[in-house]
């Protein structure tokens, strides 16, 4: 009976745990328990032996070559697929944009006679909104670039009715200018803060936003982008 209470301690001791002083004292006087401890250790040694032999397995000599070849093959396949995946994603994106644009257009058809504001690049006039009351500086006739109007309410200006649905102008944004443009549009929408200098293109603006002084600026000089060294985007000036 006394030996049975040491069974778990014997197992733990054989497995490598520290043998308690109590068990140590028992082992001093009990041959049977010493024998069982030896048995258990032998059993674990046999298990170790089985595992050692099993893991002495060598892979086939060609494994290393096959591993490298498979990595290379999979990588080539992945790279081959990438343009296709990118094209598919682009096509899907275009479809989504077209569908969304078509739906928005069908909800609220817009009048092409209204004023157009476009922050796009082919703009030659800079409109500087100033305090009301000053007469607008007359400007030369301007080409109507965007056919879709954006009515901009501002706090300091005469109230202008904003249509229930406003279609956003489609704008080509130069690289790196997205955030600035988004801030700009946000300020225009908010109306609580006087808007920053506004790039305008189009006609009949005076009827909607007045008074707007117009300052004419010279046309921008552009160079072809093909030459990366002389590109205006990379030029330090």
């Amino acid at each position: 009976m006394r030996c049975e209470r040491y069974e778990q301690d014997l197992t733990a001791g054989a497995a490598g745990r520290t043998i308690s002083a109590d068990l140590e004292a028992h082992l001093e006087e009990c041959v049977a328990c010493r024998h069982r401890l030896t048995e258990k250790r032998a059993l674990l040694e046999a298990v170790d032996q089985v595992l050692r032999v099993a893991f002495d397995v060598e892979p086939s000599p060609a494994l290393r070559h096959r591993v490298i070849s498979r990595v290379a093959q999979k990588e080539r396949e992945r790279r081959r697929m990438m343009p296709g995946v990118a094209a598919a994603a682009l096509a899907a994106g275009l479809v989504i944009v077209l569908l969304a644009g078509g739906r928005r257009g069908s909800i609220a058809p817009l009048e092409s006679s209204a004023a157009a504001i476009s922050p796009g690049p082919p703009v030659r006039d800079v409109v500087m909104p100033e305090a009301s009351g000053k007469p607008p500086i007359p400007s030369a006739p301007r080409p109507l670039v965007a056919a879709t109007p954006l009515v901009v309410p501002t706090g300091s200006r005469p109230a202008v009715a904003r249509p229930a649905f406003v279609r956003e102008p489609e704008v080509l944004v130069p690289p790196g200018q997205e955030a600035a443009l988004q801030r700009f549009v946000a300020v225009l929408r908010d109306g609580s803060v006087p808007p920053p200098p506004l790039l305008l293109s189009g006609a009949s603006l005076e009827s909607l936003i007045a008074p707007i002084p117009l300052i004419k600026i010279p046309a921008l000089e552009t160079k072809p982008l093909a030459d990366s060294v002389d590109s205006p985007e990379r030029s330090p000036s």
Binding site: A15, V50, F55, V57, P59, L63, R64, I68
Partner: protein, 187 residues
Amino acid sequence: MNDAVAPLAGRLVSDAPLDREFEERLTEASTLAFRVAYGVLRQREDAEDVAQEAAVRAYRGFSSLRNRDQFRSWLVRIAWRLALDRRKSERRRGVRELRASTTSRVHPNAEELAAGRETEQRVWEAVDDLPEKLRIVVVLSAIEGHGMREVARLLGLAEGTVKSRLHEARRRLLEMLPCVVSGTNRT
């Protein structure tokens, strides 16, 4: 540990330094990945397949691996996980049981061999019944004579944790294998 870094006939997709480094590290660690997978699957072909798949996955993440000196342990863990997944899916399909029964009929008349195989099979069954975190410690300890420090490094664990887990695993093995190994039967 004893993998010899041998020049390989197959080359990766480029000669970029990163690819060359990956290839060197993979060459050094591929045998260990194979053995780890073998510890789960016990089929050479399956283990080699898993080692290759582990290498493919490791390659995709190699550039983002912060400490490349840990590539070996990273690959081991990928191989271990892939091998476990494969065994699970094979068990679902009942493939492994079929293979095991086929293997046991290879030497029907060799009694000694059969007894050895039976012992081996029961040992493996006991190892397989261990919880995963104990099993990996047993497997890695049995491979290439890894000491506890090396096992701890491979698993990213403290050495004391590995020691404790190994003791617990051996204790459980003793309980599961009371008298299966010849010469150790209790009377």
